[in-house]
């Protein structure tokens, strides 16, 4: 019963401790809390803490800290005493808990480190630092450059990200991440190494080359490109980051830089009221009032049933019964008048719809902008023609004279036959 109570207390203590360490990142993290025999060592990365002499009676031990083969520290400490040193900027504290005898004398130690993130290799090494195997540290130096560093809105700048492994170990599992800054449009990407890769010691590589198009003026700091990686031994390293170059964009905002071709179509009819079988002259006046030239101007004239396209300017081509017009370009402030003539075939009220479309370069976007719309004329009245009232007469008005003519013709023929010998 007493034993179980102790276990409980111990567990609670451990939980509390671990909670404390989680709560405070700068708190010491225990790397090791156990015995090390005389002549063995404890390795942290490239450092080995050797236990060289244990004086059981004096309850004292000698610790020698090597960075690889270099002796860095030589400490003799007594029971319950500690010593500290730095590994890669982190504090390592070694506390001698107790000294024990036996065939081989041994020490019980507690080793803590201020941040175990840097630790990629640790553990007791039999035989001390002589027997330790060291893994290297790949160091990825990422450079991000932008050229030119000053551009105008709508222009592009080229971003180049390259990396060099300046460390002493191969980098494995290297993965880069990069983000396109806001207010820029990725215009074109030439190189983009986004997969996992390795980078041997001393190797250099271009990871990203892309062009950004500026859409707004201002000075922009590009986010650094980062990389996660491991060394040969599989130890993870903190992510490497590039510098953050700045890029200055001058001039108007993109909206202001944008240009537009604006074709104004106006249609006039002469006359707007016509007798059946009469003609209506239609004039389409086109003017480019925008600030960009238009290209591929096309016009489809949709003549309703009851009206008929009679003739028109040479540019008008009738394709599949639809009179069409195509102008390959239409410059700034250019004006043009197209005329055609339609014939009124039957009574009614009509409108003629002209569908048009054109394209232009807005000076910002790469693709041509397309505009299409339609335009409808005011209404055209087709009234009864001069002789239409004749057509409206009941059938007998025609039939009677016709029957008479046929009858007379028939009679004359009959008589002629009767008297022809």
């Amino acid at each position: 019963m007493v034993q179980t109570k102790r276990m409980l207390v111990l567990i609670i203590c451990i939980v509390l401790l671990s909670m404390m360490s989680a709560g405070n990142a700068s708190a010491k993290q225990i790397l090791y809390n156990s015995t090390i025999e005389d002549g063995d060592g404890y390795q942290i990365n490239n450092y080995v803490i050797d236990v060289t002499d244990v004086f059981v009676d004096a309850e004292t031990a000698v610790f020698k800290v090597y960075e690889k083969d270099d002796l860095k520290h030589d400490k003799m400490i007594g029971d319950d005493k500690s010593f500290s040193f730095e590994i890669e900027g982190e504090d390592v504290e070694v506390t001698l808990v107790s000294v024990g005898g036996g065939i081989l004398p041994r020490v019980t130690v507690t080793i803590t480190i201020s941040d175990d993130d840097i630790v990629h290799t640790k553990g007791v090494v039999d035989g001390g630092h002589d027997k330790a195997s060291f893994s290297g540290t790949p160091i990825l130096e990422i450079t991000k450059t932008v050229s030119p560093q000053e551009i105008a809105v709508g222009e592009t700048a080229r971003v180049t990200v390259s990396v060099t492994n300046a460390g002493d170990d191969d980098a494995t599992g290297v993965r880069f991440s990069d983000s396109i800054p806001a207010r820029f449009v990725l215009q074109e990407s030439f190189v983009s190494e986004t997969g996992k890769m390795s980078l041997d010691i001393g190797d250099s590589r271009q990871i990203f080359i892309y062009e950004l198009k500026a859409t707004e003026s201002g000075t922009f700091t590009l986010d650094p490109t980062t990389a996660t990686f491991s060394n040969e031994a599989g130890g993870d390293f903190p992510q490497a980051s590039s510098n953050s170059p700045t890029l200055t964009v001058e001039g108007d905002s993109l909206e202001e830089a944008m240009k537009e071709a604006e074709l104004q179509f106006t249609i006039s009819l002469e006359p707007t009221s016509v007798q059946r079988t009469g003609f209506i002259d239609v004039k389409v006046h086109i003017k480019n009032t925008g600030d960009a030239p238009a290209e591929g101007v096309s016009m489809d004239i949709l003549i309703p049933d009851g009206l008929e396209f009679e003739e028109g300017d040479d540019e008008i081509e009738v394709v599949g019964n639809v009179p069409k017009l195509y102008l390959s370009s239409f410059g700034l402030q250019q004006e043009k008048e197209i005329s055609y003539r339609v014939k009124a075939n039957s009574e009614g009220t009509y409108t003629i719809t002209t569908q048009y479309s054109y394209q232009y370069d807005n000076a910002v976007d790469e693709d041509l902008q397309e505009v299409s719309d339609e335009l409808t004329t005011t209404s055209i009245q087709v009234v009864k023609g001069q002789y239409d009232s004749l057509l409206e007469q009941p059938i007998y008005v025609y039939a009677i004279p016709l029957v008479l003519i046929i009858a007379i013709g028939g009679w004359i023929f009959y008589r002629h036959r009767q008297y022809r010998f």
Binding site: W411, I412, R417, Q418, Y419, R420, F421
Partner: protein
Amino acid sequence: MLNILIIGNGQCGNRILDAVNKEAFGGKGKLAKFYSKQKYKSRVETIAINTAVNDLKELKYTKAKDRIHIPHLHGVGANRNVGKQVFAENHSHIMRQIEERGSFDVAFVITSASGGTGSSFTPPLIKEIKERHDFPVYAIVVLPFREEGSLYLQNTAFCLKDIRETGVDGIILADNQFLKQLGGDVESAYNSINDMIAKRILFLLDALDSEMMMVTDLGDFKTVMSGGAGIATIGFYQAEKDEPIRTTIQKSLSPAGLLFSTDVYEEASRSMIIIRGDKSYLSIDEISTEVEKLSASVGHVFKGIIVRKGERPQVLSVLTLESASELENLYAVAIDAINEEREKKARVLEDRNVDKVFSKIDGLEPQY
């Protein structure tokens, strides 16, 4: 309503028939047949018979179905013997054409006496009709111009004789020579003679089938025609402006109105006078005076009066002749002609004898 058959034989007969049909259309132009209706009172059937297809083609007012061509190589010429033979060969065809047209109350056959086809077809045709039917048949015979030659005169003489022997009910004479006075070239003379004859025939047909004030009918006509020597002629006159009915009657009986030269008061045996016109013109007194004057020398005169509103008076007279001095003259000339022809033939024969004389020295050589 009467059923009347009119047959025109040969060119002359055909043309007069066509003139009758033209007159029935109102005597108007060529196009009358397209807009007009023939104004026959009776049912009138007309048949033109010829061996010469061109003569038939010339006709304008006679229906095609009424033109009967009797084909004969080279035609008939003026040879009546050939004509008679051709008729004999085709008589059943001709008779069928007639009989197809139903039965008739009276028939007229028009022909020239001097030609080939008409003069030779008419006698046997009349004979055959008379044999098969009992309606009266009258021949309307055109006499030639005297200067047309001996052959024509000879034909005329024989033709008239032949017709008389057929049992014909009467021969109405029209004399080209007598009517020549109408003048103009031969063609227009023919046309005006034909029109005259046609006018009279039409008037007669109209009268025979009309409601008359004083009745003359087909029976009276028959009676008139059966008198005399079986030879008759027709007179006609239409009053000018305000001519009184008296002179109108007189003129119809004068050479100006007759178709054949005769002195009616001398030669006529029976007569019929048909007067037509507006009542206002028809003075019964005048009519009676004139009719009496004629009947004093002729005997019974059948008279008929047809009242037609607004019409100027027209008078048709039908006269049968007891004697015809003109016909005698013609026969005298004809006999001379026949003799002349015979002599000509004899001379030709003699010429043949001259040949014989020459042939006697055939094979001989002159001896010197």
